[in-house]
Symmetry: C2
Subunit: 218 residues, 2 copies
Amino acid sequence: MVKNSSNTRAGRLRQLSQERRETERKELRQLILDAAGELFAQDGYEAFSLRRVAEHIGYSPGALYRYFDDKDDLLFNVADEGFKLFRTSQAAAATSGSDFTQTLRAMAHAYVAFGMQHPTYYRLMFMERPDLLFKSRQDQASEWLRALTEYQEVFAAAVQAGKLRAGDPAAMSEAWWAVLHGIVALGITMGFLFDAERIQRMLDNALEMFFHGYGSQP
Amino acid sequence: MVKNSSNTRAGRLRQLSQERRETERKELRQLILDAAGELFAQDGYEAFSLRRVAEHIGYSPGALYRYFDDKDDLLFNVADEGFKLFRTSQAAAATSGSDFTQTLRAMAHAYVAFGMQHPTYYRLMFMERPDLLFKSRQDQASEWLRALTEYQEVFAAAVQAGKLRAGDPAAMSEAWWAVLHGIVALGITMGFLFDAERIQRMLDNALEMFFHGYGSQP
DNA sequence: CTCGGTATGTGAACAGTGTTCACTGAGAAT
DNA sequence: ATTCTCAGTGAACACTGTTCACATACCGAG
């Protein structure tokens, strides 16, 4: 039984040693995670391999299994990093403009910018393995849904304020999310067709469509 | 030198034999392709493997390389099958409604239905490896762009007829394509969030948005 | 009919992947 | 000082795509 005995010399030593081992463990875990993030961003999803991560930090492949259950588990934790970036960029945009129109524009541009600047993250998060974000940990899974519900709140407020026409805010935000996702997905997977400027114009067109529609009747 | 000599018995035999070998070759090629398509639709992109295709038809893995350059080459030809399906379904929808609104609705529903009914094909064609459709063969590459330009033509006609407000038809169709792609992509990769009915509602909402917009001002 | 050539399929090999596991070796606990 | 725990290793397993020397069967010509 381990007692909380820091009054004796042996007790203090034991505790310090335990703490040190704990921080060492966390440091190595972080080292793996950093290396994984770097290699992932560099080589993309397909070429990403456990063995190369291990080699990159000078460990044997099997060692990583002391810190992560699986390749999927490792990827999940990498995706988490991407989600932090995504959430902060979205949150910043959400509180930028005073007008709803401006706010939505800012959030949309932030969304697309994130996808274009971190294509591998976006791929992993929203395209390749979105299932990763659901299983695994419950406390972090909500992180993922929160970004989605954030849009809904903005939309609900806009409908209530009369900035948008009456209707189901959830349905509207879903449809708008589909637009954003479609633009980013096309931009990422068909970079040879759509360069950055064209994606920008596409987004502007989509915003125009969103607000005013393309129909001719008033 | 091979002369076109079907007047002698030996000549006829030679020609028939050559024809037979040729058809045998085509048959085996088709057998591989069918098996590949089956396994691909069954197991999806990630689990798809050359060796399993070979095993499935009772050949050694190396044999496939007599008929396809590469795994990519094989996948490209599988994708081609998907494109035939896609194109015919789109073409049928394009000539269905007399009114533009109806036509666009029909095409949109066909688009989404294709994605939901053939998720692995859609993944391969538009998400996983769209690069496959560009390199490889020039004559078939246009096949892929034609489906895209078809939308543009419909839009151009609609603008000219006053069914849509004035503007660049290409930009409009691109934006609308992004919407469709976004809906299907979300439906495919996040099937646990969006079931078929919800995707349907999402599409209806998107059509509403497309025609009338979500803004409150007239 | 026999010879030479041509194309086809095989089997083994290579380099890579994720994952497991018996084993060291060092440090902590007793 | 001895036991115990745990991190890390290295080898193995079952896969993957791809290549290549080789056997083999068949075709065309002499």
